[in-house]
């Protein structure tokens, strides 16, 4: 019988929001570039044109940053920036947050943007714009209002036993 894993050590809840703010700005830029670029008529552009599209490149960078935060959260640039530059200037957090829901949210962001990048590479029009816009809305809501849509999804799945402790025992 596997022992249930204890909740991991908490993190400063302002860290993910700080990262979400930078991510939201990058996603907005990427979505704009995608909108004025080849995304609208991706079917007519050559594959090379689609891959060197500035919107594609910016959103690819954002995607790689999502992947980085999933693979090694503590070395991810925004995480480092927060700990070194922002956090020392803030009062200690009133509470620490379970890192699993925000981490899951990074995974959702990664999935959405990756789907947009892949569809765009295959010539699907508007895929890049839509993916960028969707990811932007989630990142913006998190940064500005502290609403974490990915976290809510994690909680729904955790209640259903698909992720988390119940899943380990199932």
């Amino acid at each position: 019988m596997p022992t249930p894993d204890a909740a991991p050590r908490g993190i400063d809840p302002r860290g993910p929001r700080f990262a979400a703010g930078i991510t939201a700005a990058l996603l907005l830029i990427g979505t704009f570039l995608a909108a004025i670029g080849t995304s609208a008529h991706a079917g007519q552009a050559s594959i090379v044109q689609r891959l060197v599209d500035p919107g594609f490149i910016v959103l690819l960078v954002v995607d790689l940053l999502f992947a980085w935060s999933l693979i090694s959260p503590r070395t991810q640039p925004w995480s480092v920036l927060f700990r070194r530059v922002v956090q020392p200037r803030l009062v200690p957090p009133a509470e620490l947050e379970d890192p699993r829901p925000p981490r899951f949210a990074q995974g959702v962001g990664f999935t959405v943007v990756t789907v947009g990048l892949v569809l765009h590479a295959f010539g699907v029009p508007w895929a890049l714009v839509i993916a960028g816009a969707a990811a932007f809305i989630a990142a913006f809501l998190n940064a500005v209002f502290g609403l974490c849509l990915g976290c809510q999804l994690y909680l729904l799945l955790a209640r259903a036993g698909i992720v988390g402790r119940s899943a380990a025992r199932a």
């Binding site: 907005l28 704009f32 004025i36 509470e95 947050e97 829901p101 609403l147 976290c151 209640r159």
Partner: protein, 144 residues
């Protein structure tokens, strides 16, 4: 898309996201009156207070619950005859469905008979909880 059209798209995106955020944030912590007798709290092991009970529904993943818990405990402590109880819903999805709890923290305010009289979804302010308590017990409390 022309740059101008793309700019309008961007502005529209920010506007939509802002409106959505404001709407959802405003719903946080608003009291909802409950029809008496409509929610069954038996079997949850809640010790009801003489004049009122504050019940917090939380889960292990709930980042904002600890601060609400501290506040509710404190409010119950300063109000005579009121007690505080917490119910962990992490492994009790059946209870959550039965009581129609869709987010944590959710706070129920019970009257002297143990009936649910008001509920708050999301982070609730001390002021809102105290106002409901006063309304239900008919007492006047000095605000901390």
């Amino acid at each position: 898309m022309t740059p101008v059209a793309a700019l309008l798209l961007i502005v529209g995106l920010v506007a939509v996201a802002t409106i959505a955020g404001v709407v959802v944030a405003r719903r946080d912590g608003r009291a909802r009156r409950v029809a008496s007798g409509s929610l069954d709290l038996s079997g949850l092991g809640i010790d009801t207070g003489e004049s009122a009970t504050l019940v917090l529904f939380s889960t292990e993943f709930c980042a904002r619950c600890p601060s609400v818990k501290r506040m509710l405990r404190d409010v119950a402590g300063t109000a005579s005859g009121a007690t505080f109880a917490e119910v962990d819903l992490t492994h009790r999805a059946d209870v959550a469905s039965r009581l129609r709890i869709v987010q944590t923290p959710t706070t129920f305010v019970l009257d002297a008979a143990g009936e649910v009289r008001a509920r708050f979804g999301g982070v609730v302010s001390r002021h809102s909880v105290t106002a409901q308590l006063d309304h239900i017990t008919g007492a006047h409390h000095a605000h901390a």
